[in-house]
């Protein structure tokens, strides 16, 4: 009996989890300037990308030719973990070789940290370049891969200040289309405060 009620409580929790996960939530620090130039990176199929660009163009934004077709994961480009496979020689003696292994492990971690820090630092440089060379006001990241089954989300970074100014998590609804979702994002991001 007790087992059954536990199952019921657990199911209820799962149901609650599911319900609450379907909540739309956003934050807008400042509305995007009308007619601003934007670079949009979209995660999704090509037809979705085109639909997104079209909606932004229709809304009067200058959409820069910022293509995001060459997608690589960092693991494809730079496998930092490979460093772990480097062989090393250590003087005989268990204690000594254990210590050397630990030191190498530590150095690997340090390299990882440095790699990540440098990656973030060079990313900042690239973004600065984008801002200066191509006069992009906002960098927009859009995840539309699961727009019809799960969530879509958007982040907007003001390249003048490097601030994240708009974030929106949008759960999929039955009646939604790519256009209706983008329309919702466009409506919120331009909302006067």
């Amino acid at each position: 009996m007790q087992g059954k009620s536990s199952v019921a409580v657990f199911s209820l929790c799962l149901a609650l989890a599911f319900c609450s996960s379907r909540q739309e939530r956003y934050f807008l620090r400042a509305p995007l300037t009308k007619g601003a130039s934007v670079a949009i990176i979209v995660e999704g199929e090509n037809d979705v990308k085109n639909a997104v660009f079209t909606e932004f163009l229709k809304a009067g934004f200058q959409v820069k030719a910022f293509s995001a077709t060459d997608f690589y994961r960092v693991e494809d480009v730079f496998e930092i973990r490979d460093i772990k496979k480097i062989a090393f020689t250590a003087p005989s003696g268990k204690e000594h070789s254990e210590l050397t292994a630990r030191v190498l492990d530590k150095n690997f971690e340090n390299l990882y940290k440095l790699h990540l820090y440098n990656f973030e630092a060079s990313k900042a440089e690239i973004i600065k370049e984008i801002r200066a060379k191509y006069k992009v006001d906002y960098l927009i990241l859009l995840a539309m891969k699961e727009w019809d089954t799960s969530y879509s989300w958007i982040r907007v970074i003001n390249l003048d200040t490097f601030d994240l100014i708009y974030i929106h998590n949008y759960p999929a609804r039955r009646s939604d289309t790519v256009q209706s979702i983008i329309a919702r994002f466009l409506e919120i991001m331009q909302k006067p405060q």
Partner: protein
């Protein structure tokens, strides 16, 4: 595509890393239903092992002696029920159990020592370096309840090292190890810019940014230009970030697959690495430099490392401008706790001004009282040293030594100096008598509770001057201790004079410590 150079292309690829991984990350946030639950890892007893002075500066022995006394004083103010063992108690227990206490580098030694002393927590440490007026102090804290191990590093001016280290250690013991899982030295400045390192899924990362925004905090573009979360491994790598004054062990999986927060093995590994200076990139000042560079390039004031997994969260807040760890929070959470709840509580907590223990009375002058007479100040007779060299050119050392002792005493203790005429009477008496057999007479003659007395001889074979000094507790008619020093007859003699004075003061301080420590 407007990035033309190959270098730019590579960088651009980096800019888009992990894009696909985003959709494979964790799904939507958990339901908003329950509150936090805390595991109770509250320590009820703690032992202060003797601090070690690894420098050759006798003067720093003052910290070695004062740190435990002052820390115990403040700790007892914050938690009267806590059972505390002073260094002298630990040494006595080791002696009773025929155990020698050497060093704490061996893994099993902590466990054994905690068992032996029957305590939940151990604190030991070393004074590692003194340069440009800055003391480098390293403290190790071990929790026998959780097997957590921490290293705190302090770099502070000599006059500030005690209040700073005592406040932080006490706060850490009282809160973080006291069951709250919170360590905080400063509040998050309003309107600050935060960079984030986390293994959260993109939706949750967005939610965290929303919570920060709602509190008028700005989110730096760090991490937000990628569409995917960092891997668990990547974030756990950042666990071991050390800071100027505080470093923690990293978080890795144990052999039985349980993710332990501070495994002892890793802690010791880190400790040994540090000992071997095998951390060329992230150590000491260089790490701070990297933090500063990072702060400039990503335009952020703070780095928040946020780790999440079902059942646990861990947050570390680092001020990127000075590399200081200002916020640390470990939480056990129920499966129903939402990300939103955790984010909200974390940010609100970090914004609050932390309650640091009162250390305004730390590091100052200690009242030297006499045993058995309450808080009444003790009277100390400091006699001129006896010149046993029979050489007139060393006559100046008689008063040099007593003056040096007097100066050192005044820096540490509040006491009453015996009447000079009575001190002279004592000197005259000791020209003909041995002190050990006549302590009650010396008590009558000088009217002092403590007598400091010494002599120096010249060893022609070694060509060294030998100095000896003793402290007697005249009131209780016993010897407190004696110190020796040798020196060649050159300018080094002045160092020897200072050393003997410091050692005497330390002896007296040790005695006062034992009285206070019970």
């Amino acid at each position: 595509m407007f990035l033309t150079t190959s270098a730019s292309k590579v960088s651009f690829f980096f800019l888009l890393i992990d894009l696909f991984a985003g959709s494979h990350g964790q799904k939507a946030p958990n339901p908003e239903t329950s509150s936090f639950s805390h595991k109770n890892h509250s320590i009820t007893s703690v032992a202060f092992l003797p601090l070690k002075n690894e420098t050759d500066l006798v003067r720093l022995g003052e910290i070695e002696l004062k740190f435990p006394v002052e820390a115990i004083k403040v700790l007892q103010r914050t938690n009267k029920k806590l059972k505390i063992l002073a260094p002298a108690d630990c040494l006595r227990l080791f002696k009773d159990k025929n155990t020698s206490y050497e060093d704490l580098l061996e893994k099993n030694q902590y466990v054994e020592l905690a068992r032996l002393l029957d305590v939940d927590g151990l604190i030991s440490g070393k004074i590692k370096k003194f340069s440009l007026g800055i003391v480098h102090l390293e403290l190790s804290i071990y929790s026998h309840l959780t097997h957590d191990y921490f290293i705190m590093r302090f770099e502070e001016a000599l006059e500030k090292i005690l209040p700073t280290s005592v406040a932080k250690v006490v706060q850490f013991l009282a809160n973080y190890l006291g069951g709250d899982g919170l360590y905080q030295t400063k509040s998050l400045e309003p309107k600050s810019r935060i960079a984030l390192l986390s293994n959260l899924d993109p939706l949750s990362l967005n939610e965290l940014a929303m919570h920060l925004g709602e509190k008028d905090l700005k989110t730096s573009n760090f991490l937000y230009t990628t569409l995917s979360p960092l891997s668990k491994e990547a974030v756990s790598t950042f666990w071991s970030i050390s800071t100027v004054d505080f470093s923690l062990t990293e978080m890795t999986e144990t052999s039985d697959g349980i993710l332990s927060f501070f495994p002892l093995e890793n802690a010791l590994q880190k400790w040994q690495d540090y000992q071997n200076e095998a951390s060329p990139i992230f150590s000491g000042d260089r790490e701070v430099v990297i933090f500063r560079q990072l702060a400039r390039s990503i335009n952020a004031d703070y780095l928040l490392i946020f780790y999440y997994e079902p059942g646990h969260t861990f947050a570390r807040g680092i001020d990127l401008r000075n590399g200081e760890l200002t916020y640390l929070r470990r939480r056990s959470i129920s499966l129903l706790t939402t990300h939103g709840e955790i984010f909200k509580t974390t940010i609100e907590e970090w914004l609050l001004e932390p309650k640091l223990p009162d250390v305004s009375d730390i590091g100052g002058i200690t009242a030297l009282s006499r045993e058995g007479r309450g808080s009444e100040l003790a009277t100390v007779a400091i006699l001129d040293f006896f010149n046993l060299t029979k050489k007139k050119e060393f006559q100046y050392l008689r008063t040099s030594l007593s003056s040096a002792v007097s100066e050192s005493m005044l820096r540490i203790f509040e006491f009453r100096r015996a009447d000079r005429f009575k001190e002279i009477a004592g000197e005259k008496f000791l020209e003909k008598a041995r002190p050990d057999d006549n302590l009650s007479q010396l008590f009558q003659l000088t009217g002092a509770d403590f007598l400091i007395y010494g002599n120096f001889t010249y060893n022609s074979r070694e060509k060294l001057l030998h100095m000896e000094a003793r402290i007697y507790d005249l009131f209780n008619q016993k010897e407190v201790g004696r110190v020796f020093e040798k020196s060649p007859i050159d300018s080094r003699i002045f160092n020897a004079v200072d050393n003997i004075a410091e050692k005497l003061v330390q002896l007296l301080y040790k005695m006062a410590t034992q009285q206070q420590g019970g």
